[in-house]
């Protein structure tokens, strides 16, 4: 099977925080319409790697290519402008605002009256309902309530909707999307991930739950002590093998 051209490729990424080396020459390739899961123990370098991809950190060495072109990012906004966005574990929602306001937070739709722009709450609400329904298959009971009163899965959907509303979104990073969710909500979120994958997005999923990883991912990249300890095709692997690579059992045996 021929590999599709990766949308994002990170080459020999290194990152040092003072004297501590968080990443050593890590590679990462992710393709369109695929879910790449990144797993690893705490402190293995997953988050650092992802933060470099989303422009939050700048790498000490190595290069990032998007569609084969080298990237230079100085902030998260740069990454967003290039079509790389992330849904954080904390979701970054303002709980007192309604779902539509949250979805458009930071990129509000406006109208103007005599040259004075103002927020177009009505259109934002209609668009929020449309995006949630059409792209994510989520219907909220009310668009007037504070986001705080929504369930964990619905809040997640609002946060995802914010990311996918950008028309030029290419790469979506999801950091522990199911960590705080119950079984039903988890199933729903995994379904969302599949929906987005089928729309052709490149998805990077960070998760501690191997069940989730094996359900949705196409490839699994295992991180260990700041290095890529392995890269497997999900269908050819097993949770046991991946777990062994996470804890370094194979390495110790060798």
């Amino acid at each position: 099977m021929s590999e599709p051209q990766p949308v994002v490729s990170m080459r020999r990424i290194g990152k040092k925080f003072g004297g501590v080396t968080a990443l050593h020459d890590v590679d990462l390739d992710a393709s369109a319409g695929q879910v790449l899961a990144i797993v690893g123990d705490n402190g293995a370098g997953k988050s650092t790697l992802i933060k470099i991809l989303t422009g939050v950190y700048q790498p000490t060495s190595g290069s990032i290519h998007l569609d084969g072109k080298p990237l230079e990012m100085n902030s998260h906004s740069d990454a967003k402008a290039l079509g790389i966005d992330a849904v954080y574990q904390t979701l970054a929602l303002a709980d007192d605002l309604d779902p539509a306001a949250n979805m458009f937070l930071g990129s509000e739709l406006t109208r103007s009256f005599m040259g004075i722009p103002y927020l177009d709450n009505k259109t934002m609400r209609l668009e929020a309902v449309r995006v949630l329904d059409e792209r994510l298959g989520v219907k909220l009971r009310s668009m007037d309530v504070a986001t705080e009163s929504l369930s964990g899965g619905q809040r997640q959907a609002v946060a995802i909707a914010r990311a996918v509303y950008q028309p030029d979104l290419r790469v979506l990073v999801m950091d522990e999307p199911t960590a705080a969710l119950g079984p039903q909500e988890t199933a729903r979120t995994l379904k969302l991930i599949k929906v987005l994958r089928d729309e052709g997005l490149t998805i990077l999923l960070i998760s501690h739950s191997l069940d989730d990883v094996f359900e949705v991912s196409d490839q699994i990249q295992i991180m260990r002590r700041g290095r890529r300890a392995g890269l497997v095709k999900t269908e050819d692997s097993s949770p046991k093998e991946v777990l062994g690579m996470i804890v370094g059992a194979a390495e110790d045996a060798a």
Binding site: T90, A92, L93, G106, N121, S142
Partner: protein, 378 residues
């Protein structure tokens, strides 16, 4: 059908709260306003319920309206401004000097007052965002600075007698219509309500107060919007200084002593949360009216002026406690008031309180027992 009924039931119960929620901010102050009206109807109906008295109430309330509007934004962002009283006094004095000593035309003096206030607000905002001084300490310290400058400028002078424009702004009346300051105050609230619902500033103020980290992550310039709020606050405090000067036709360095507490009380009574994220513009307006009615009631009942500070403080505590209680999700879990008071933790506090009261009693008793003759020293 049958298995759907519990869902609809829970739904109905929830929507009842949802429907009530937006009006909570109004119900609180309205209930208290009704209470004042009832009490006054019993105690002093003839002197309280007079058109001239209500005119006094509205004139008093108008003075606080612009500041309450701006303070709603500041508090929504989890900030607080304890310098508004001094900013009002200092801008009033600067404006007065500009007209009296340098012959400024009244219109320019008006513009000067508002922009000077805005500039002081900018300084507050920069102190808080650039020097990272917490809002409470930063504005408290700047309160001392502004008050100090007011005293330095005016010494003990009372500057009085201003042009008609100034007194019109402070206490004028459009014939057959409402007083000009009330019109100004209500206009600021209309602008405030628009800003809150329809502007980036209002939206981001709620976002910042609700979750500052999230606001930052979505690319909102948190510090810039905080500065905007303080600039608005300063401008409105400047406007209040101008209105106060016009209302009294006089200004001095010690004017506006209780503005801070009064404005914060009005906003908090109106349901805007001191913990940020919840803004109720209409509630702030109702809060301003409530406080003015309360203070007027105290005056009508011939209670000493100094009690109004006590009353404002008590109103702040009560309303914050009330809204916090409303927010508490699981009230059903607690076993009634008495049971919750008898926890081991509380028993320790009772012991401490008991010890303090007994110590106090000992000192009072000893003080009286060994009291010296006071006639000589007095």
């Amino acid at each position: 059908m049958t298995n759907q009924s519990p869902v609809t039931h829970a739904d109905a119960g929830r929507s009842w709260q949802d429907r009530l929620e937006p009006y909570l901010a109004i119900i609180g102050p309205m209930a208290m306003i009704a209470m004042i009206l009832i009490v006054m109807a019993i105690l002093e109906p003839t002197r309280y319920f007079r058109a001239s008295n209500f005119n006094i109430i509205f004139l008093e309330a108008a003075l606080y309206m612009p500041m309450a509007m701006a303070m709603t934004f500041v508090i929504t962002q989890r900030g607080i401004d304890l310098s508004v009283g001094s900013v009002a006094a200092l801008t009033g004095i600067i404006m007065a000097f500009a007209m009296k000593q340098y012959g400024f035309a009244p219109w320019f003096a008006v513009g000067l007052a508002i922009t000077t206030g805005a500039l002081f607000g900018l300084i507050n905002g920069l102190v808080i965002t650039r020097f990272k001084v917490p809002d409470l300490i930063g504005t408290l310290a700047m309160d001392l600075v502004y008050r100090g400058f007011a005293l330095v400028l005016a010494k003990g002078l009372v500057l009085a007698r201003f042009p008609d424009l100034i007194t019109d702004i402070g206490r004028g009346r459009i014939p057959g219509f409402i007083p000009i300051p009330v019109l100004i105050g209500l206009t600021t609230f209309v602008v405030g309500a628009f800003l809150l619902r329809k502007s980036w500033f209002g939206r981001y103020s709620i976002a910042i107060g609700s979750n500052p980290e999230a606001a930052e992550m979505t690319g909102i310039s948190v510090n810039r919007y905080k500065i905007y709020a303080y600039v608005l606050m300063g401008a409105m405090a400047g406007l209040a200084g101008l209105m106060l000067t016009g209302k009294l036709n006089a200004i001095q360095a010690t004017s506006a002593p209780y503005f801070n507490l009064h404005v914060i009380a009005a906003v908090v009574v109106g349901g805007t949360s001191l913990f940020g994220g919840r803004a109720y513009m209409l509630g702030s307006l109702a809060g301003v009216l409530l406080l003015s009615m309360m203070i007027n009631a105290l005056v009508t009942l011939r209670i000493e002026f100094f009690w109004q500070s006590v009353a404002s403080g008590v109103v702040i505590i009560l309303s914050v406690a009330f809204y916090t209680w409303l927010q508490k999700k699981d009230r059903d879990g607690s076993k009634g008031l008495l049971a919750s008071l008898r926890t081991p933790e509380n028993n320790k506090i009772y012991k401490l309180a008991g010890a303090l009261v007994s110590a106090l009693l000992v000192f009072v008793v000893l003080g009286f027992l060994f009291a010296a003759d006071t006639t000589g020293s007095g």
